[in-house]
């Protein structure tokens, strides 16, 4: 379907409003605090990028967390060596992860299907293993790469030397990148990233990528050099991951190897599939659900539950707490596992399919209305 640019603009505006208003509408859900909001935005960027590759081309990469980690490392090194202004760090992070994506993409895209997946997995695991141990001089291994008081920070010390004995903090021309300002910064970049992804979805390039997913052989016989298309998409999505990684470092200047482990790559795959592969909004819904579970569900302990049911009569509240408590706190993995199964069994297209179904049901009664629910 060809989107008119007016509807494109409308989608973007609604998206921007929803994202920027997150501190308000997430308040009743207990998720309106800077760190989680930042994570929503950053992982949003990560999955948008991942979805541009996986969603459009159908190539299942199992190593995208590598680019996230590399972006973080590059950004932290930029803070250490050059300046704690986040802008150069982000650019540097994108470039370095772009380089990694180019190399890994060049190698892995020689194969397709499961062979491609395993190649990306293998390369990613090598990067992770080395970062955790042998490359400790560069990555600081287990204890994560952090800024230190005696770092060079050449640009900063040239312009205005750091005073005081604390660590300088990351900023954007004086605006600190922690707390809400950090969130708004990430949110703005998320909106720009989303805009770019809409454009790609609606561009000839996006169509060509989807055609590769649909029938790569026909693409070749129609005169396309599909490998360059795949490579470009891989590169773009690797750079998105690098952007997300460097933003992670920008709001919280620390980079650890765990960010690159296969489980981290698996997480972005799960987020994308859970939300809805190849849809614009779906993967971000996946981010919302998984990050919400990880941060909020895991924090409910017995007492907290009892308190939140306190509006009920005591025996009922206790009974409810007894029933619910295996699924929260230390049981949040269990709930997530059940959710994965339920979603994929009943909504093969992910959460987005559910949203579409609900929307279809409503629109039967009244005029179709854009009710984008995003995180």
């Amino acid at each position: 379907m060809l989107l008119s640019s007016r509807s494109e603009l409308r989608t973007l505006l609604i998206f921007a409003a929803v994202v920027l208003m997150m501190p308000i509408w997430l308040l009743p859900l207990g998720a309106a605090y800077p760190d989680l909001l930042q994570k929503f935005a950053i992982f949003g960027i990560f999955v948008i990028g991942y979805n541009l590759f996986f969603g459009l081309t159908g190539y299942l990469s199992f190593g995208h967390a590598t680019f996230l980690g590399v972006g973080s490392y590059a950004a932290v090194w930029c803070f250490k060596l050059l300046t704690v202004n986040v802008l150069p760090a982000i650019v540097f992070g994108i470039l370095v992860s772009g380089f990694f994506a180019a190399v890994i993409g060049f190698i892995c895209l020689r194969r397709s299907g499961i062979y491609f997946s395993i190649l990306t997995l293998a390369l990613a695991q090598m990067c992770y293993s080395l970062a955790y141990s042998v490359l400790t001089p560069i990555t600081n291994g287990e204890t994560s790469l952090q800024m230190e008081a005696h770092d060079a920070r050449l640009l900063d010390s040239w312009i205005a030397p750091h005073v005081g004995d604390g660590l300088p903090i990351t900023h954007l021309f004086g605006i600190p990148m922690s707390g809400y300002p950090g969130f708004y910064f990430c949110a703005v970049i998320l909106i720009i990233s989303f805009w770019f992804s809409i454009r790609i979805f609606n561009s000839p390039f996006g169509l060509q990528l989807r055609a590769i997913k649909s029938n790569q052989e026909r693409m070749q016989y129609s005169g396309y050099n599909t490998r360059i298309y795949l490579f470009s998409a891989f590169l773009i999505s690797g750079m998105y991951a690098g952007l997300a990684g460097s933003l992670m470092a920008a709001i919280d200047p620390l980079a650890g190897a765990e960010r690159m482990q296969w489980t981290a790559s698996g997480e972005v795959v799960l987020m994308t599939i859970l939300g809805g592969v190849g849809t614009l909004i779906g993967p971000m819904l996946g981010v919302g659900v998984i990050k919400y579970f990880e941060n909020i569900f895991s924090s409910y302990n017995h007492d907290a539950l009892l308190e939140s049911f306190s509006f009920l009569p005591q025996p009922l509240a206790e009974a409810l707490t007894f029933v619910v408590s295996p699924f929260v706190g230390e049981g949040w993995h269990l709930t997530l596992g059940i959710l994965f199964m339920l979603v994929v069994i009943f909504l093969p297209g992910g959460i987005m399919e559910g949203v579409d179904r609900i929307r279809a049901r409503f629109s039967r009664h009244k005029q179709p209305q854009q009710t984008e629910q995003t995180t």
Partner: protein, 257 residues
């Protein structure tokens, strides 16, 4: 044989074996510009193999395939297409997850932009000219009313016509058709014949592999007959029709079916 100056496509001494089975033996073929060449032969004669060799899907063991004097050996499928060779497959190769219009537009893009063009920010809908051209071909093939539908939902006959539209929109210099009317109703077949005749008027060279003799004799300027991997006859339609070897091969083939 005609004057070699107007030969656009030729196959020289091509051999191909699959695990001891001689699929093609010493095949020679020369097609003049603007000509419609039919290749016929019984099942298993090597027709599809020959076509696959033509588009670079299968590399020949020996011999050369030349298009406008350039060897196609070792070229990738997309390269061959960019030279101006398009192909309709025996089982329709389309993009099932895209709309008909998108299917055709994709082909049109490749004609206009080459094997790769990075255009992530341009809106699809801004491509008015390509859009209209693509719609035009859909109309030409009577499937314009499905333009916004997913290609996967088409009938088999319509899929073939879609594929034909995808090839035609590229204005190829050489069009290879592998049984373009298989599975079509009589009415659709006639319609396809009409369309192909119209293309002929535009001077497009075609190689058709076909079972349906009605189609072959309606369209072909010359016919080559392939049996057991070798060309056993070649000539004008009437010549071939009366050729004893051909009749024998067909009857023989028929018995084995």
């Amino acid at each position: 044989m005609s004057d070699s100056a107007s030969i656009i496509f030729n196959i020289d001494n091509v051999n191909k074996t699959f695990g001891g089975l001689q699929a093609l033996s010493n095949v020679n073929l020369a097609v003049e510009e603007g000509q419609t060449r039919a290749i016929i032969g019984p099942n298993g004669a090597g027709k599809s193999t020959l076509l696959n060799v033509c588009v670079g899907r299968i590399a020949p063991d020996t011999g050369v395939v030349r298009f406008r004097g350039q060897s196609l050996t070792g070229r990738t499928p997309h390269d061959i297409n960019q030279l101006g060779v398009a192909r309709v497959f025996q089982t329709p190769e389309i993009f099932p997850d895209l709309s008909l219009l998108q299917n055709v537009m994709i082909s049109a893009f490749s004609k206009r932009d080459g094997a790769f063009r990075f255009s992530p920010l341009k809106a699809l809908k801004a491509e008015r000219q390509l859009y209209e051209e693509s719609m035009h071909y859909l109309e030409d093939l009577d499937i314009a009313e499905h333009a916004e539908q997913l290609a996967a939902n088409l009938s088999r006959g319509d899929k073939r016509r879609l594929e034909l539209a995808m090839c035609l929109v590229q204005h190829p210099r050489l069009l290879l058709l592998d049984e373009p009317t298989a599975g079509m109703s009589r009415h659709d077949t006639n319609r396809t014949i009409e369309i192909l005749k119209k293309i002929k008027e535009r001077g497009m060279t075609k190689i058709i592999i076909e079972h349906d003799m009605h189609v072959v004799f309606s369209l072909a300027d010359r016919i080559s007959v392939l049996a057991q991997g070798a060309i056993i006859a070649e000539g004008l339609p009437e010549e071939v029709r009366n050729n004893e070897k051909v009749q024998e091969a067909y009857l023989g083939g028929g018995q084995h079916d």
